[in-house]
């Protein structure tokens, strides 16, 4: 069953002439891990804002087409009603942090749900530990680094345990190892709890391996939608500015030289290394 579905979704910000997304029709099944990517300014963030009703309720402007998220028409349900089902982690963590301590920031959404104190305590600690900021819980979110702020933003959304988590470049300020750990955590929640994940990312080298399918946007439209292997083996994806993993690119470069290592396109360095190893050892 599709947990997110849009039909010919078109949206124009107030006082802007051109729509930021146009004619977007996508489907995300319950429990899927979906990656949205595409060149800077292609409408990825705008689409995310539609998923929890920030568009049109907060941003206003003109929304056409249909959108259903967790069985709700987002145009008819206010953002706060969606919050239980959809958690959105913003691109810039400063846009969502405001409390005096990190712990309070993470607890804020739960307070609004009116959860019992004990459960709140448990969930806050759980989210703080998962994101590796338990030791920082009494600090102000405004005095920690950009990367740590991103962890706080992720923790506040995870604590809500929404059915769907939408993350807009959630680890851009984190170092690669920390980013990888966060993606591992999200992948695990996806696999174990069946949380549906929509991730906006440029860095496919870190994330393509987790995705069930990848949606590529360009100039407000969806131009590809398919499995990672299919998407990344298409030459066009690179041409519109999608940075495919270096391992995949090396595989394609070898292919052009007439070296066909295998039928499937490798997505990670492990996959390509074993293909090369086979080719070199195989007699």
């Amino acid at each position: 069953m599709a947990i997110i579905e849009t039909k010919s979704l078109t949206y124009t910000y107030p006082s802007v002439l051109k729509p930021s997304i146009s004619d977007v029709s996508i489907k995300v099944e319950k429990g899927e891990f979906v990656l949205i990517t595409g060149p800077s300014g292609c409408g990825k963030t705008t689409l995310c804002r539609c998923f929890n009703g920030l568009i049109p309720h907060f941003y206003q402007g003109e929304l056409k087409g249909e959108i259903t998220v967790a069985e709700m028409d987002t145009t008819k349900h206010q953002t706060h009603a969606m919050a239980k089902s959809v958690g959105l982690v913003f691109q810039n963590p400063e846009n969502q942090l405001f409390a005096l301590s990190i712990e309070k920031d993470v607890a804020f959404g739960l307070e609004n749900l009116g959860l019992p104190r004990e459960e709140m305590r448990e969930r806050v600690d759980w989210a703080l530990k998962l994101t590796g900021i338990y030791d920082l819980r009494e600090r102000s979110p405004h005095e920690v680094s950009g990367g740590q702020q991103q962890r706080v933003a992720i923790a506040s959304v995870l604590a809500m345990q929404p059915e769907i988590i939408v993350l807009d470049e959630p680890t851009s300020f984190l170092d690669p190892l920390s980013a990888e750990k966060i993606f591992e955590v999200i992948h695990e929640l996806n696999k174990k709890l069946g949380m549906t994940v929509v991730l906006v990312e440029h860095r496919l080298d870190l994330t393509a391996k987790y995705a069930d399918h990848i949606i590529i946007m360009n100039e407000g439209k969806v131009c590809f939608d398919g499995t990672p292997r299919k998407i990344l083996s298409a030459e066009e994806t690179r041409l519109i500015g999608v940075g495919i993993p270096k391992a995949t690119f090396l595989y394609q470069t070898l292919l052009k030289e007439g070296i066909n290592l295998n039928k499937f396109t490798p997505l990670s360095s492990e996959e390509l290394a074993s293909l090369i190893m086979e080719a070199l050892l195989n007699t």
Binding site: Y13, V16, G38, P39, S40, G41, T45, Q91, N92, E94, E143, S145, G146, G147, Q148, E169, S172, F173, L174, D175, P176, L177, S178, A179, E180, H202, R203, D205, R238, I240, G241, V242, G243, I244, P245, K246, A247, F249, L250, T253, L254, E257, I259, S268, S269, E270, L272, A273, S274, I276, M277, A279, L280, L281
Partner: protein, 274 residues
């Protein structure tokens, strides 16, 4: 030239961010400062244009000690682009944003006009000239911040995480731009986590950990030494990861570039066929 001599720095809240840093960056060098979150990278580069002054030790920029001059005087030669563009953007239009520093430096109106056009074109922002920076996407705002600094043509460029939110095409442009800056003899210092970007540019790499420098040398060497990288939370570039796994076959380890990789693999396959 930037000369950093045994610099220590503590923030007012007592956090010791730099613990004895010594480093020389020559004119025309391209340096990537890498390391995990909280290693002190941003704190260090803020010393290069005087935004921060050392608690102990000295920083000289082109022979002038940073404590003996103003940030305004240093800024003319060292342009700084912040990690988070929202920390530096404030004007109502992209054009005004780019014009701001130029006006402050007292450039003539025609020159300002020329420079704006040049910088916006270079960064693919011409269509947004009259748009508010706050209506742009995260990646675009980042480029506006970069354009506003490039416009006054500083001799040193300090870019804090320039590739955040940038797609492949923009990163490639940035890379070409950095190469172009180098041919003009400019110094470029980037603070970054983006190993793949560094692997494509192959600059000098300065690796930091907890306020100290743990490695300093050629990108190709540092980015292919996992023991060194691990202590700074940096992962190997994908090409290096592949060659790490293939090392037992007698292939070289220090490969970070896709095209070098291709040549080496083709040669190995050829030899095997013989």
């Amino acid at each position: 030239m930037i000369e950093v001599e045994d610099v220590h720095f503590s923030y007012p809240n007592g956090v010791k961010a730099l613990k004895g840093i010594s480093l020389t960056i020559k004119n025309g060098e391209f340096v990537a400062i890498m390391g995990q979150n909280g290693a002190g990278k941003t704190t260090l580069v803020k010393h290069f244009n005087g935004l921060l002054k050392p608690s102990e030790g000295k920083v000289h920029v082109d022979g002038v000690e940073t404590t003996k001059t103003s940030v305004a005087a240093l800024a003319r030669n060292a342009g700084f682009v912040f990690q988070n563009p929202d920390h530096q953007l404030f004007s109502e239009t992209v054009e005004e944003e780019v014009a701001f520093a130029l006006k402050n430096f007292g450039f003539k109106a025609e020159v300002i006009e020329q420079r704006i056009t040049w910088a916006l074109n270079l960064l693919g922002l011409t269509q947004y000239r009259k748009t508010s920076p706050f209506l742009l996407s995260g990646g675009e705002r980042k480029r506006v911040a970069l354009a506003s600094v490039l416009a006054w043509n500083p001799s040193t460029l300090i870019l804090d995480e320039p590739t955040i939110g940038q797609d492949y095409r923009q990163k490639e442009k940035l890379r070409q731009f950095v190469v172009q800056m180098q041919t003009q003899g400019k110094t470029v210092v980037i603070v970054t986590h983006d190993v793949e970007f560094v692997a494509e540019c192959n600059p000098r790499v300065v690796l930091m950990k907890e306020g100290t420098i743990v490695a300093d040398g050629e990108g190709r060497e540092i980015l292919t030494t996992p023991e060194v990288l691990a202590q700074s939370s940096i992962v190997l570039p994908q090409v290096a990861q592949i060659f790490m796994k293939l090392a037992f076959l007698g292939l070289p380890r220090n490969v970070i570039d896709v095209y070098d990789a291709k040549e080496i693999i083709l040669k190995a396959l050829e030899e095997k066929q013989r």
